[in-house]
């Protein structure tokens, strides 16, 4: 099967804190429970990152499907 990556800016919610690909997110809460500063909130359909985030990257690792990334232009592109 020929596949190409969908790059749809509307699906990626990047609030400058963390960026979430809503087309990939399974709303499972693994990132929420992993976040040391309780900076993520999930209502089953909506996921948000707040200013308590320290950009430690643990949620990026905890996400089973790779839906979270650092915000655009962030210097950490590789996992720590």
């Amino acid at each position: 099967m020929l596949r190409e990556q969908i790059v749809s800016p509307e699906a990626i919610i990047d609030n400058g804190i963390m960026a979430i690909d809503t087309a990939v997110c399974m709303h499972c809460g693994a990132c929420v429970g992993a976040c040391p500063t309780n900076a993520i909130f999930l209502t089953e359909v909506l996921i948000t990152f707040d200013e308590n985030c320290t950009q430690c990257g643990l949620c990026v690792k905890a996400c089973p499907v790779g839906a979270i990334d650092y915000p655009r232009g962030h210097k950490l592109t590789k996992l720590r």
């Binding site: 399974m26 809460g29 992993a34 089953e44 990026v60 996400c63 089973p64 499907v65």
Partner: protein, 398 residues
């Protein structure tokens, strides 16, 4: 539906932990409200659905045809190079025995809570706790476009892995990267897997720091899932990458069709320092009561839930929600499971550090000796016989 502004007990989260708490609180005379942010209790499923029969009766739960999908005879534990240890159900620990329909299981527990007299509100997300002089006195709720406060003699945080409610209250439920498993599972149908056995695959090449499982739901359908340690994740979505790679290599399941995808986080941490504070207690995954070796948490959530519910019923009867009354829950669940949780956390830490080669040797010597019973002595003896040099590595673990 009329709801009050104040209840004796407000339970956040209608998973097994929350529903069993609500049931026993209501049965023992507490006016109880159960709040669930999902619109459909039990769904979507976030679970491998493996459950042992051993402890359910302690939580007042009988095996029920409505949620029993399949009974297994035992489990195979398979090392990285394919050495295979078979253990019968009696000794396989918390995780095997039954494979269930988790969505129905959760609904049945919520039904029991309602039958006992608890009120239930779905699509009701708790967004914060309300405090007075540092004590928790209620919660803030978003429900169907409305926002309101509900007060409680005691708030029960049974909000699962996310465990935010306890943190808002000031309890420390934070996890280290080595105590978080990133989990993913497919329910595959059209497979050829022996429905009589669960399978557990170990190894750094299979599931770094965790394991990969096959839990058969029926003759032709199986839950194939993986948990990888967050600390060991090298690339985004490693859980999915490792799982897909494994499935591709197994002809029994490669052609399986997915009926669902399940994602989620699992804690494999030592027990929390504190699960009670003035006006609040934590139950189930929120209290990190999952078995750190198996990642199984349904049974422990139910067992703790019963203790919490009974303590809260007593509190309501006496009109006493003081910290010393609530501490009876803390003492109760620790007496029941703390030692085992701690020991299994130590064992997990050791196991996760073993090389694939050592895992091969370990499983090989156990299988060779025909170890059926996973007792300390039997294991040591078996390893010593075949690989004497390994015993010193394991003495501590065993």
């Amino acid at each position: 539906m009329e709801f009050r502004d104040r209840y004796d007990v407000v339970v956040v989260g209608a998973g097994p932990g929350g529903s069993v708490t609500a049931r026993f609180a209501a049965l023992n005379g507490a006016r109880t409200l159960l709040l669930e942010k999902r619109q459909d209790i039990g769904s979507p499923v976030r679970c491998g659905e493996g459950l042992s029969k051993a402890h359910l009766h302690e939580a007042g739960i009988k095996v029920d045809k409505r949620w029993l999908a399949n009974e297994v005879e035992g489990a195979h534990i398979i090392s990285p190079s394919g050495y295979r240890l078979t253990i019968s159900e009696k000794h396989a620990g918390n995780e095997v025995g039954m494979v269930i329909e988790r969505d129905i299981f959760d609904k049945v527990q919520a039904f029991e809570a309602a039958k006992a007299g608890a009120e239930i509100m779905v699509k009701a997300t708790v967004t914060d706790v309300i405090k007075e002089n540092g004590d928790v006195i209620g919660v803030r709720v978003d429900h169907f476009g409305e926002r309101f406060n509900v007060k409680a003699g005691c708030v029960v945080a049974a909000d699962g892995f996310e465990s935010q409610v306890g943190r808002w209250a000031g309890l420390n439920t934070r996890l280290k990267g080595g105590d978080i498993m990133s989990g993913l599972q497919y329910r595959l149908t059209g497979v050829e897997v022996d429905p009589a056995y669960c399978e557990f695959y170990l190894g750094n090449s299979v599931a770094p720091g965790g394991y990969l499982w096959y839990f058969p739901k029926s003759e032709d359908t199986v839950n194939v899932g993986i948990g990888v340690m967050a600390k060991r994740v090298k690339e985004k979505a490693d859980a999915k990458t490792y799982l897909d790679r494994f499935i591709e290599k197994d002809p029994r399941v490669r052609k399986g069709k997915p009926l669902d995808w399940v994602a989620g986080g699992v804690s494999t941490s030592p027990p929390l320092e504190r699960t009670v504070a003035p006006g609040i207690m934590l139950v189930g995954d929120a209290a990190r009561q999952i078995d750190p070796i198996t990642g199984g948490g349904i049974a422990n959530a139910c067992r703790s839930g019963r203790i919490a519910g009974e303590v809260l019923g007593e509190a309501a009867q006496a009109g006493d929600f003081s910290l010393s009354q609530l501490m009876k829950y803390e003492k109760g669940w620790r007496a029941l499971m703390e030692n085992r949780l701690y020991r299994n956390w130590l064992a997990k830490e050791k196991l996760a550090k073993l090389s694939d080669e050592t895992l091969d040797k370990l499983i090989d010597s156990l299988a060779d000796a025909g170890v059926e019973k996973l007792s300390v002595l039997a294991i040591l003896h078996a390893v010593q016989k075949k690989y004497p040099e390994l015993v010193k590595d394991f003495q501590e673990l065993l």
